[in-house]
């Protein structure tokens, strides 16, 4: 393996030795934007968990920042739509952009997303009991000025505070305004609150940076690496089981309305975005602290998954009901399963992450 690694590093080494000459003032620990490899060799095959943490926090800051910005724009668009009584196309487009910005964050079910209950309040799904519809009915029973007030929305049902509620307003016979304005403003608040809970002083990023024996969450930087690795894997489980498996059901009995965002037909775009978010964490976060060719191989398998998703060629809602397209959805699901196996075989051990059985796993 040692020899293999050295060989595979051949091409990368060119970059490593040449890059600092291109940019001699680069700070230590920075990495090549294309290859994701550090300009300075990681050294003796040991994982530098401090470097992983530094780079991963940059990835997270960018991803949480993207959701904050998209949700802020969503609020502005909703306000403009409702004020000018214009058509809802711009609002639909911005809902799609916001959902796609959320998709990578769906993998990070720890820290602020848990503390703030954002998994449900941003994206209440699955919704087997129509809590979104019921929450919206309660909101729509309020006087108009209260519907537009994000404080009223946030005090109500979590199911009526997020993306699926806005989607139901925009893709059903319900009146869009003024409730859309209140929900979009609530989403913008959540986007800002999540970002701050991570990156404001004393936020979760500072807890991760302060990893050590007295830290109540991370006793060392390696524990944060393990959390991130688990999150990447969890995101893939979400794609495989929830986003694909749930609507697939069985051949005789598919469940198209169990697809995420089936009304707006965004299901496939959300899956693309979640896969891309995972790829970004692997490429830019774990970066050169995963040996080659393992890292490039995993990224290649993610590309294969994207390609399989493209062959589906229609919304998941339709695809699971169509014998030919359904077969392609199943093929994609198998690819995600394969991706998870490869991740567990190559990337986990590579990062020194122990995911075995331990009483310390908690319950």
């Amino acid at each position: 393996m040692f020899r293999l690694t050295a060989l595979a590093f051949g091409a990368a080494l060119m970059t490593v030795t040449m890059a600092p000459a291109d940019a001699p003032d680069l700070p230590e620990g920075s990495y090549h934007p294309e290859t994701g490899l550090p300009y300075w060799a990681p050294g003796r095959g040991e994982v530098d968990h401090d470097a992983v943490r530094r780079r991963a926090l940059e990835v997270l800051e960018r991803q949480f920042g993207a959701f904050r910005d998209a949700s802020a724009a969503l609020s502005d668009t909703a306000a403009a739509t409702c004020t000018s009584q214009s058509d809802t196309e711009a609002l639909k487009d911005q809902l799609a952009a916001t959902w796609i910005a959320w998709a990578p964050l769906d993998s990070y079910q720890f820290g602020p997303i848990q503390t703030l209950g954002a998994a449900l309040s941003v994206n209440f799904w699955p919704d087997a009991k129509n809590y979104v519809g019921r929450g919206l009915a309660a909101l729509l029973a309020e006087p108009a000025d209260r519907q537009a007030d994000p404080a009223v929305v946030m005090a109500g049902s979590a199911a009526a505070q997020g993306l699926p509620a806005l989607e139901m307003l925009l893709y059903s016979d319900l009146p869009v305004c003024p409730a859309a304005q209140g929900i979009a403003a609530a989403l913008a608040q959540q986007g800002q609150t999540l970002y701050d809970a991570w990156f404001a002083p004393d936020g979760w990023a500072d807890i991760a940076r302060a990893a050590g024996p007295d830290n109540p969450v991370y006793q060392n930087a390696a524990e944060f690496t393990k959390t991130l690795y688990t999150a990447v894997d969890f995101g893939l489980i979400r794609v495989e089981d929830a986003r694909l498996g749930r609507p697939l059901g069985t051949f005789d009995r598919p469940f198209p309305t169990r697809a995420e965002a089936w009304r707006s037909g965004l299901s496939a775009d959300i899956i693309h975005a979640q896969l891309s978010g995972a790829a970004e964490m692997i490429e830019r976060g774990f970066a050169g602290d995963i040996r080659e060719p393992d890292r490039s191989w995993i990224l290649q398998v993610i590309d294969q998954a994207h390609a399989r998703l493209d062959t589906v060629g229609q919304p998941i809602y339709d695809a699971v009901q169509d014998p030919t397209a359904r077969f392609r959805v199943e093929a994609l699901k198998q690819k995600i399963e394969y991706l998870r196996d490869e991740l567990a075989r190559d990337i986990g051990p590579n990062l020194g992450v122990d995911t075995g059985f331990s009483a310390a796993d908690g319950d």
């Binding site: 079910q109 998994a119 087997a128 979590a158 807890i207 007295d214 059985f357 009483a359 908690g362 319950d363």
Partner: protein, 353 residues
């Protein structure tokens, strides 16, 4: 119900194997081997493995039948199966499957007469906490389904005076989200008392500043006083008690300890000595155990024990599972000894009556 059909019936004299046939094991625990195979293990109080039975997935706690040599091993949440095993042989007597839309939390308890098994369950799309009722005399057929009194019922315990205590942890989870906690802004744990027929007879709620302290694991002494292990879900930098006591009719009593921070906000398991003299709360994440006086709740020292996980009554003291073995806490001192077999223990140690 039929809700009353399983009111304590006369204990039938049954020709099933009794616990002595299983080598009179003192304790049960779920465990794994280095190859990640998963097992239910019977241990003597000196760390001898009396039996080891493979189970299909990671186990959590187990419920021992009060007099037959049967144990019910529960899958760890969000597991959907439980296996009833005859302990001398390892023969599978029955298998419990959680109904559609449910999963087990990994704990259960028998009625005093051994007739019914009660299991804590998640009705995850509702979401609601439920108690499943299974008839041990009818091949563990599911016979009833009762409210637990809160979200996230975790440990359920039979009480010496009859009835049960249920730790409603307050945390909403859904299998689609793995083990992620979904409702922290609104979580509301409680301790609920059920009568022998499973009906809710009393509930105690934490004060508002302890709302984020999940009530999760329980034990009870011979006088019916309950000891509680807590898991803090609030700001991780905030140090709050991870142990509490409760006596019916009184408010919850939280127990500070100078070594609380070593548990890393996670009380894994709890036991109170049968005579009520000592309480232990284990910290598998923090590699420590805290001890308290069982009567007045004052701190009584702590031990650094790697992967301190399960703890159970042992005479006037307590037995613990730790990395590579067991420990006994008696008369204010702790003795450790190894257990052969390279086991990793799950969080709980279940004492056989």
């Amino acid at each position: 119900m039929h809700r009353r059909t399983f009111l304590a019936t006369a204990a039938a004299a049954l020709a099933a194997p009794a616990w002595a046939d299983a080598g009179a094991p003192c304790y049960l625990t779920a465990a794994a081997k280095p190859d990640l195979s998963t097992w239910l293990v019977g241990l003597s109080d000196r760390g001898t493995v009396l039996f080891q039975i493979p189970v299909p997935d990671r186990g959590h706690a187990a419920a021992a039948h009060p007099f037959r040599a049967e144990a019910v091993a529960f899958a760890r949440r969000p597991g959907r199966f439980a296996v009833v095993l005859e302990c001398p042989t390892g023969a599978e007597i029955a298998r419990l499957h959680a109904p559609e839309g449910r999963h087990f939390y990994g704990h259960g308890a028998f009625t005093a007469d051994g007739r019914y098994l009660l299991t804590t369950e998640n009705d995850f799309d509702a979401p609601d906490g439920r108690i499943g009722v299974w008839d041990a005399q009818a091949a563990y057929a599911r016979v009833d389904d009762l409210p637990s009194g809160g979200i996230g019922p975790h440990e359920i315990l039979h009480l010496p005076g009859g009835g049960f205590a249920v730790a409603n942890g307050g945390i909403q989870t859904h299998p689609d989200f793995g083990r992620a906690k979904l409702n922290l802004p609104t979580m509301a744990p409680n301790l609920t008392y059920l009568d022998e027929g499973g009906a809710i007879v009393d509930q105690v709620h934490p004060p508002s500043d302890m709302r984020l302290n999940s009530i999760r694991h329980l034990d009870v002494d011979a006088d019916g006083r309950i000891a509680i292990a807590l898991q803090w879900q609030g700001a991780p930098q905030q140090i709050v008690p991870l142990a509490a006591q409760h006596v019916r009719g009184a408010p919850l009593r939280y127990l500070p300890h100078p070594a609380t921070a070593t548990l890393r906000q996670f009380g894994g398991s709890v036991a109170i000595a049968r005579d009520g003299s000592v309480i232990a709360v284990t910290g598998p994440k923090g590699d420590h155990v805290l001890y308290f006086d069982g009567r007045d709740g004052t701190p009584r020292g702590a031990d650094r024990l790697a992967e301190a996980s399960g703890v159970a009554q042992h005479g006037r003291g307590l037995a613990l599972t730790i990395q590579g073995g067991m420990a006994l806490r008696e008369n204010g001192s702790t003795a450790q000894f190894p257990v052969a077999g390279d086991w990793s223990w799950d969080n709980h140690l279940v004492r056989i009556v």
